[in-house]
Every structure is written in C-alpha cells, then in structure tokens.
Symmetry: D2
Subunit: 161 residues, 4 copies
Amino acid sequence: MRWKGIRFICNPMAAHDGSALPAAPFALDLTVRFAETDAMGVVHHSAYVIWMEAARVAWMEAAGLPYAEIAAGGHHFSVTGLQGEYRAPARFGEVVRVQVTVSQLRSRQISFAYVVTNAATGQLLMTGSTEHICVDLTGKMVRIPEAVVARFRGRKHTGLP
Amino acid sequence: MRWKGIRFICNPMAAHDGSALPAAPFALDLTVRFAETDAMGVVHHSAYVIWMEAARVAWMEAAGLPYAEIAAGGHHFSVTGLQGEYRAPARFGEVVRVQVTVSQLRSRQISFAYVVTNAATGQLLMTGSTEHICVDLTGKMVRIPEAVVARFRGRKHTGLP
Amino acid sequence: MRWKGIRFICNPMAAHDGSALPAAPFALDLTVRFAETDAMGVVHHSAYVIWMEAARVAWMEAAGLPYAEIAAGGHHFSVTGLQGEYRAPARFGEVVRVQVTVSQLRSRQISFAYVVTNAATGQLLMTGSTEHICVDLTGKMVRIPEAVVARFRGRKHTGLP
Amino acid sequence: MRWKGIRFICNPMAAHDGSALPAAPFALDLTVRFAETDAMGVVHHSAYVIWMEAARVAWMEAAGLPYAEIAAGGHHFSVTGLQGEYRAPARFGEVVRVQVTVSQLRSRQISFAYVVTNAATGQLLMTGSTEHICVDLTGKMVRIPEAVVARFRGRKHTGLP
C-alpha cells in the first residue's frame, strides 16, 4: 500500500480481528502563527514537529481516545524516532493541512506518517514520520493498553472520516 | 533604590534578620538562537519571556538553591504576573545579557526584575519583571520553604557577585 | 467602559468620524498543544504570549485586514509592551478562548487587551495586554497606514460579530 | 569511518585539495530550560531540533564563518531533511552536550550528524542528523559560496579542537 510516496507497513495486528487501520488519512488544518516563522521569512523547521504532534493528538481524539485520557490513565507515547523531508516552505498567513495516518501498530510501539500541504493550493510542503513507545508514569516501556489498541485498530471503532 | 529606571520595592523580610537581597544584579549571557527569530528578521518577543526564566533559574543556582532541587522538594514558583517593555530588537548572532535581581520577597511570593542588553555594545533591549507564588505539587499556594527564603534573603549565603 | 475588569481607554480617533472601536470582543479558540505544557504539568506561561499574538492576528483578519497583507505592504506592528496576569493554569487537552479587543488606537500606536478563559467552563485563566508601534521594513516608527486605521476604527468596516 | 554508530559519508570534495573535514566532533553544552520540558516531566522532543541548530551554528562560528555573516552575505542553509533517534530523556536542570560534525559536503548541500549526551554522566540521549541546501535570498538553490566551502573543508582553517 502506498500513499503519496510513503510506504505503509502492513498492520501486524490486523489479522487478530479482521479489521484494519484507518484507510483514509485524517487531517488537521492549522493557521501558521507568526511566532513559528524565522528570519528567513518562512516557517522554522521545528514548527512542523509541533504540528505533527498536534495532528496525531487530533487523530487520537477523532479515534475516540483523547490523549489527555490516555495520559490521565498513566500512559504516554514517548517519541523514539523522528524523520522529516522538507519540500517547500510554509509562510505566515497560510493554512497548512497535516494529514496523519498510523503506519505501524505493535504491542508496545506505534508509528505515524504525515503529509503537510498548503490547504489552499495543495502544494506539498513536508512529509514526516514519528515512532513511539508506550511508557508508564515511571518512563518504563509497557504494552499499549488493550482498550487503546482496540480503538486504534478497528476501523469501525475509530469514528474517522 | 533605583536601578536603570526600575524602582525596587523594599524587602519586607529584610528587617527580620538585618540581611538584604543581593544588591548587585546577576547576569546570564545567552547566544540568540536562529529559532528565536521571526519573519521581521529580529527576535520574537516571546523569546525574552524564556530568557527571563533562564536568568532567574541561573540566579537561583548561583544563590545555592537550584530550581531543580526546589522542584524535587515539591515546590514550584508559579508565574502570576509578567511585564515587559521592548526598547530595541535583538538579532540572530548576538549575545544578550539578562540581568536579574529579586525586587520583592514575601512569605508566599517573590518578584524578579530584569534588564536585557546587548552584551557586546551594552545597548538596552528590554526591561521586564515577573511575579511568582510558591505552590505545592497540587498547585496550592503555600509558604516559601524557610530554607529557600534564607538562601534568597541573606547576601552572605547567595554567593552572588 | 469596562469589560471583565479591564478599563479601556477611549479611542482618541473616534471623534474624527463618529465611529467607534468594535464594542464586542472577538474570540479565537485554540486547542492546547502538548508542546505548550511544562514539567509542572500545566501550560507554560510563554504560550499565552503566542496565543495573544494568534488572537490579534485573527482579529485583524476578521477586521478585513490580514496581517500578512499589512506585512506584505511593508508595515509591521512591533511589540513594545507586554503584560499578563495569570489566574489559573490551562492544561493539555483543553480548549482555551482568547478574547481580544483594541484598547487604544493612535496614529503610530495600537494596544490590545486579552482575556483567556477555558472555553468549556468559562473559567478565567489569564488577562493580558500588548502595545505596538507601526514600523516600516527598516524598523523605523511610522504612521499606521490610513487604510489600516480606517478598517480598525470603523465598526461597520470591521466585519466583527 | 564510524563514530558512535553513525557512518560518515566520505567527503566528495576532499580529493580537490587533499584536505579533509574536521575529524573530531565539535560540542556545544546547553543548560536545559524549564520551558523546554513538557507535562511528561522531561524535555519535549522538539527541543532537540533547536539544540541541533544551535550546535551547528556554533560549529560554523568555530570554523570561522559565523552563520550570521553567511546570512548577511545573502545565503542560507535551508533544512531539507531531519532525523532523530531518542534514547533517554533529558531533564530540567541538566546540562546536555551536543556533538556535531559535518557528515557530507557537496557543492549545493551539506549534512550534519549529532550526538546528544548528558554532559555530567555521558549518558547517550539522542542521535540525529540534518540535511541542508544552500539557497539565496529568494529561496533558490545555489552553490555554497567557495569561501564557505573552503572554510568548512580545510581542517587547518577550521580552528576546531
């Protein structure tokens, strides 16, 4: 399966119940903040890292499991990997669209892939990915709670568009 | 007592033991980060808020009470007030000097005053102040621990220049 | 005129054409980003500075004069003053509402006042204000362009709710 | 050549004059700012992106070509790629050491590799890399100025330890 040039790894948990990860990417639109620009006159590359986080948090919310609830339950998804390819600069005053999808889901790990475009023109700005492990409040790696996995895994449970 | 145009409130605890707050301002030098600039080509005004925090943390360290230790002891200085006057822009590649001094110390509150200059030229860039209350881990306002007050209050304990 | 405890200075330009500044505050809702929290478990105080900026940019957009256009025209509103009073912490997962209104408009200066609340509960989180001067591309203080003043000044031109 | 598990690509320009890239990594020590932490109680992953930038800017300064001068000369190194692997969390109050070295230098591109450790304990916190293209003030990709290449290329010109 390929989507905009990003190869998605098959969901290793999909066979468990016949369901699949959300097929359609979920998108979050964000207005570029002036504080996110730098002296080159464009958005600083670190802002996309924050945007990807905001998009996966919104994805979780849309999937019926707000990250704040997961955190309140004593679990966090700690970032272990980060990649980005920057294609064109975003500028102040633009609306950027951050598409996000789960690219891999394992018992203790979850990976997301992102495509950032200019919402008005569709121009590709950036592609990225992040890898996460599930940790408890002490920072120790643990299994992702089954209720969370079930939400993430089943398309019919996700409530995604 | 006036220092660079900022009036300092007398220390209401000074009478208790005859000691006084550090008379000389403490300074932290910081190199402007490219990420701190914005599309106007100068440093974004929010960066100074971060710099003031870094300077008061360094002040506490120099006073012999690292903030990390205070935090580890279950206390935080929550920001309740913030003021800044911006006089001239800082730019990428410059070193800024953040002078900090305690302007007020009470049983549950502490205030700091700041003067930010260009370290090379001495040009005045910004003056600011912050007010803080002492809170415990639940966020409830509490008295500043006596050991902390003693460090902050006594000049001979602070180790400041 | 008072609004939530903030006194607004009368608009000195109002007499020119009998119009007035927008009477009703304009509001921008923002979802708290995880990156905006700190190790105290709540939103860092510098995030509100970014939020106030986002709100006044949105205000300008709603007033029919996007800041990006003003910037493209060679003008910027440089921040000269900043004040904030923090009443209660915002937390990750909450939606904050940033109300903004113009508190003063002069030929070369503009001031904004802000009230930040929890959008769901209405709890007051922070009040703030900023002062700005109009500068050209070289950073020199100049008069606010008449077209901009006209938009800001006249209620019937602002398109505000 | 391998350094802490990162393979360095041979310098394709080295043959031109027999010189080589700096063999020893350059390091910048940074004190963790409270604003860089998040509600998990550790440093947010986006802070490392800022730290890597600060380290490569310091590297350029040490190499005798301050980035501010390069920028003043009309050139920028725009980020085209970003990778990071997070091994252990950094915490408020710690000093982190960001080692940086040039991993590749081409006529229009430059890549850096980073290793972030706890300066006191030597614990590995993160490894990362960034890729950059040289652009002019209009954002168009151009050749890296020869004077800059010469500085970066020649060990005896770099002034690095």
